[in-house]
């Protein structure tokens, strides 16, 4: 599904290149649950951003579902966002002025899904996440764990093939974090959604089936979890 070949990312400052990522080469298959780990500043988030096409690599090749991402036009990239990629953020990033239901509806609007189907999909996902009673609340009326649930619901409702999650439990207490990680595992196993998460926590990383460890911009380890 994802092919990275010799990805490099650096910033040139007064002729001195400061590298964020060096020689990153890896591939991720459909249905994998990958955790990216490493110390602060190692380049985990940059790698995730590149995978999510929010940043461009300075050098290297990136193929997403067989297509060359670096050669893609803006519009094609946006099509990928609409149909294949779901984002989950550490700070949830729900839109404060929208209710829970509206937040979940937003991606469907951009996908131009007809009203009736939108309604049923939202009802469906609210039901699955046990949040029907909260659908008319605004994000600031929810707890952090609940907000992250909405964030995941929003990512899922467009039926993506991959979810990119940047420290999804970083702002949560451990009980809530566990709940979120269980959800990811379930989605991965039951719906075969590819999941890529950046995490600091060894425990969270164990939920997935593969761990990439990055240090100073280089992949140090690539192990499979049993």
């Amino acid at each position: 599904m994802i092919e990275l070949k010799n990805i490099e990312k650096y910033y040139a400052n007064k002729g001195v290149k400061s590298y964020i990522l060096r020689h990153v080469t890896t591939s991720i298959k459909q249905g994998e649950f990958v955790s990216i780990m490493g110390p602060s500043g190692a380049g985990k988030s940059t790698l995730l951003n590149i995978l999510g096409m929010l940043e461009e690599p300075t050098y290297g090749e990136y193929h997403f579902m067989g297509e060359d991402v670096t050669a893609m036009k803006e519009r094609q990239r946006i099509e990928l966002y609409r149909n294949h990629i779901g984002f989950v953020f550490q700070a949830y990033h729900l839109i404060d002025e929208m209710t829970v239901a509206e937040n979940i509806e937003a991606p469907l609007l951009y996908k131009k899904i007809p009203g009736a189907e939108r309604k049923s999909r939202i009802a469906d996902i609210l039901d699955r996440f046990n949040m029907v009673a909260k659908k008319d609340l605004f994000p600031n009326q929810l707890s952090g764990g609940q907000q992250q649930l909405v964030g995941i619901a929003r990512a899922l409702v467009a039926q993506p093939s991959i979810i990119l999650a940047d420290e999804p439990t970083g702002n949560l207490q451990s009980a809530q974090a566990e709940q979120i990680m269980d959800l990811f595992k379930k989605l991965n196993q039951e719906e075969n959604i590819t999941i890529l998460q950046v995490t600091h926590s060894e425990k969270n990383a164990q939920y997935g089936n593969r761990i990439l460890t990055i240090e100073d911009g280089v992949i140090k380890e690539d192990v499979t979890v049993k």
């Binding site: 966002y81 990033h93 609007l109």
Partner: protein, 789 residues
């Protein structure tokens, strides 16, 4: 999706209701000002535009070496009609010179603008009486009165039959027939309250009687430049043919010109284009105010950018195109502008009466002729684009990777832009404040300066009887002087209210100069309290005074450069006058024109008849005197005594200041408005800046800075900007006010105080505004600002 975006927009605006109302309110105020000025502009530029021949009507005027005039001799129009086939119609008009009483059996009205119009001209200008325009038979005068006059004279009239009225004093027993009423178009260059329609006017008069306006209507597509040339040649040959050259007119010195009807109201060739300049200045002013308000809007919208950044980022990763976001923000701004427009209309409606009385017009928002119906949507789109395009581009351009990382601060790149916008706003405000203060000083100077005479407690009584000879006026004076409280009475051929005087050539010691003349009666100088510099005033004890005595003003003496003028001879109008006195100059024409060198005499065959009676009254007994004058007037002034009508001279003289007072009001409003809008902008900008520096402020506080130091820190950059604005606008304000002051012959030196004051005002307002904003950042607990996320 539109519905959802709308909901987000409304929730957003509601959450920031404070900023939103500042935003919308400021724009509404500016829009109101702009709309009023737009309406005024449309009104002023569309005189006669309803006339289907608007573009084909020209007035024929003449150029002299010193001046241009629209007065033309009557045979000229006829000659034009006969010679040029491209001239479709020629019509002449003549203004009546007097205020005339018109009476029915029951009541009296006074026509102030009597107009004689040829049938052709009436057709050309759509001067159509009620019941239709009829062609007069032969030499018939078809006399019509304006509708309100007609209703006053004949309140119960239902039919359309002509009515007999007496014209002038009843005792003069002059009667005329009113054919009916007419509603004059107040939005036309041709204004009147009574009109006589005739087949031809000025029939017996030659090229020596240039008292008529000649309008021509040409075929569409006529080459005006070549027609003008042909008409000028015709004029020269007609002058020669009619022997005018022999009478001392130099053919090549006077030329005929054509001036289109569309220029008549604002920038006639024969006349001043001051109104046009004022109109342009006002339009620029209105536009500036609107642009400033839009700039504010932009600034305020961007100031909130950080709040919306997350929304943009999230929407983008959900698959929104940039243009969808741009349009979303534009629609949000459009909504605010729409509300501002509605509010603006309400504000405009509220201030319209004041505006109308200031500019002496009758504008109405609900009149479809004012063009507001199509102008408003254009304005709305225009302001939405100006105010919205930049924030919409900035907001929709945020990179998701940057804004979603957590600690997002808007970039500092556009700082220079916003700083300079703020400087521009304040510069304009400073110009207006300085201008206002200088206008105030000049007006104060004009009110307090000695004008050379005293118009207070002088009653000007309207009269049509000629009192040119002093012995004819003597019994009138005698009767008026008997009224207790009357101090002095006189008659002259002009009153000092800015109305021009006649001019003629006068010779002293072989030197000839042109002087203005004013024909007076005994006690003229006493009535107006004019001080004598040398010699004496006219007096009945010198018989020669009624024959050939003259008094000069200082300006006249200076013009001839005569030493010891008393007793010298001055020759003019075939009379050798003896100079008996010299008076101080009096600013009878206001402060704009230098005092004309003037000769005052009792006997002057070249002058107009004396009709203007002036009575100086004791302040304490004014009401009493007026009552007695009113009751006795028919006895005092036997031949025109039906109606005692009067004005206070100081009020008439005060009208000379009206234009300046109007300018003062406009500047006052403009200064208030610009400073208000600039402060609004500053308010939001300061909020934006302090929000951006909350972390810095927190760190400084932890490092031990006290509140005062932090206030200083935040105020410094604003202080610098306002100082720059002042430095930029001082020279501009200096040049502009100097130019304005130069239109006065009598003016103040430009004072320094206004410049200092406007600096102080702007700095004070800035510091107060910024400190209010900074206060919140300073009061906040530093721990909150320094927490991550």
């Amino acid at each position: 999706m539109f519905k959802l975006n709308l909901k987000i927009a409304l929730r957003n605006l509601w959450r920031n209701i404070g900023i939103t109302s500042i935003n919308v309110g400021g724009l509404a105020v500016a829009l109101a000002a702009f709309m009023l000025l737009m309406m005024y502009f449309t009104y002023e530029t569309s005189f006669d535009k309803k006339n289907p021949n608007f573009d084909n009507i020209y007035i024929v005027g003449r150029t002299f070496p010193d001046f241009k005039t629209n007065y033309t001799p009557p045979p000229f129009g006829k000659a034009i009609k006969e010679n040029f086939s491209e001239v479709v119609a020629v019509g002449k008009m003549k203004k009546g010179g007097f205020e005339l009483a018109v009476s029915s059996h029951t009541s009296t009205v006074f026509t102030k603008q009597q107009l004689f119009v040829e049938y052709e001209a009436a057709k050309m200008f759509n001067i159509i009486p009620e019941g239709g325009l009829k062609k007069p038979n032969g030499n018939e005068f078809l006399y019509y009165l304006s509708k309100p006059y007609m209703q006053t004279l004949f309140p119960n009239k239902k039919d359309t039959k002509p009515e007999m009225v007496s014209i002038g004093s009843r005792s003069a027993e002059q009667f005329g027939e009113v054919r009916g009423s007419i509603v004059p178009d107040s939005h036309s260059n041709i204004s009147f309250d009574a009109v006589s329609i005739v087949n031809e006017i000025g029939t017996g008069e030659s090229y020596g009687h240039p008292n008529y306006f000649t309008y021509i209507q040409v075929k569409p597509g006529t080459d005006i430049a070549s027609l003008e040339l042909k008409i000028n040649n015709l004029y020269h040959s007609e002058l020669t043919k009619n022997g005018m050259v022999d009478e001392g007119e130099d053919v090549t010195e006077t030329n005929a010109f054509l001036d289109p009807l569309k220029n008549q109201h604002l920038k006639p060739k024969a006349g001043s284009d001051a109104n046009y300049k004022v109109l342009i200045a006002l339009s620029v002013l209105g536009f500036l105010i609107l642009v400033i308000a839009c700039i504010n809007f932009t600034n305020l919208s961007i100031a909130q950018a950080a709040k919306r950044a997350k929304e943009v980022g999230v929407k983008k990763v959900m698959g929104a195109y940039r243009f969808q976001l741009t349009i979303q923000f534009l629609i949000e701004i459009l909504m605010q502008c729409l509300v501002a427009t509605v509010l603006g209309l309400i504000i405009a409606e509220i201030v319209l009466p004041k505006f109308n009385s200031l500019f002496l017009v009758h504008l109405s928002i609900w009149n479809k002729e004012n063009g507001l119906i199509w102008q408003l949507p254009v304005i709305l789109l225009f302001i939405t684009l100006i105010a919205g395009i930049y924030p919409a581009m900035v907001l929709s351009g945020f990179k998701p990777a940057a804004v979603l990382k957590g600690n997002f601060q808007t970039s500092r790149q556009s700082y220079w832009l916003r700083n300079s916008l703020l400087v521009v706003q304040f510069s304009i405000a400073v110009i207006f404040i300085t201008g206002l203060l200088i206008i105030n000083s000049q007006l104060k100077y004009m009110r307090t300066q000695d004008v050379g005479f005293n118009p207070e407690q002088v009653v000007y009584v309207k009269n049509l009887v000629y009192y040119t000879k002093p012995e004819v006026f003597a019994p009138v004076r005698e009767k008026i002087m008997k009224i207790p409280g009357v101090k002095a009475v006189t008659v002259a051929n002009a009153i000092p209210d800015g109305s021009g005087m006649g001019g003629n050539g006068y010779t002293v010691e072989g030197k000839q100069h042109s002087l203005s003349f004013l024909d007076v009666d005994y006690d003229y100088f006493e009535t107006l309290n004019i001080k004598l510099k040398e010699g004496r005033a006219f007096s009945t004890s010198f018989q020669a005074d009624a024959v050939n005595s003259a008094i000069l003003n200082e300006a006249a003496v200076a013009k001839y450069g005569i030493q010891n003028p008393i007793g010298k001879t001055i020759r003019g109008c075939n009379i050798d006058y003896t100079i008996v006195g010299v008076i101080n100059d009096l600013k009878a024409e206001g402060f704009e024109k230098a005092v004309e060198p003037t000769i005052y005499a009792i006997n002057n065959p070249c002058g107009n008849p004396k009709t203007e009676i002036m009575v100086k009254v004791d302040e304490q007994r004014m009401a009493e005197v007026l009552a007695i004058l009113k009751s006795q007037w028919s006895d005092i002034n036997k031949r025109d005594g039906d109606n005692f009508r009067y004005h206070f001279l100081d009020e008439l003289y005060g009208k000379l200041f009206a234009k300046q007072e109007q300018l003062q009001s406009v500047f006052f409003a403009a200064a208030l408005l610009t400073i208000f809008i600039a402060i609004l902008g500053l308010f939001a900008f300061a909020k934006y800046i302090t929000n951006g520096r909350i972390k810095e402020i927190a760190v400084r506080k932890i490092l031990g800075a006290n509140d005062l130091q932090i206030f200083k820190l935040i105020n410094t950059s604003f202080f610098v900007m306002v100082m720059i604005a002042n430095l930029i606008s001082w020279p501009l304000a200096y040049i502009l006010t100097k130019k304005w002051l130069e239109t006065f012959a009598y003016r103040i030196e430009i004072p320094i105080l206004p410049f200092v004051l406007s600096a102080l005002i702007t700095i004070m307002l800035t510091i107060i505004t910024v400190t209010i904003q900074a206060n919140r950042a300073v009061r906040a607990n530093p721990v909150d600002a320094l927490k991550y996320e």
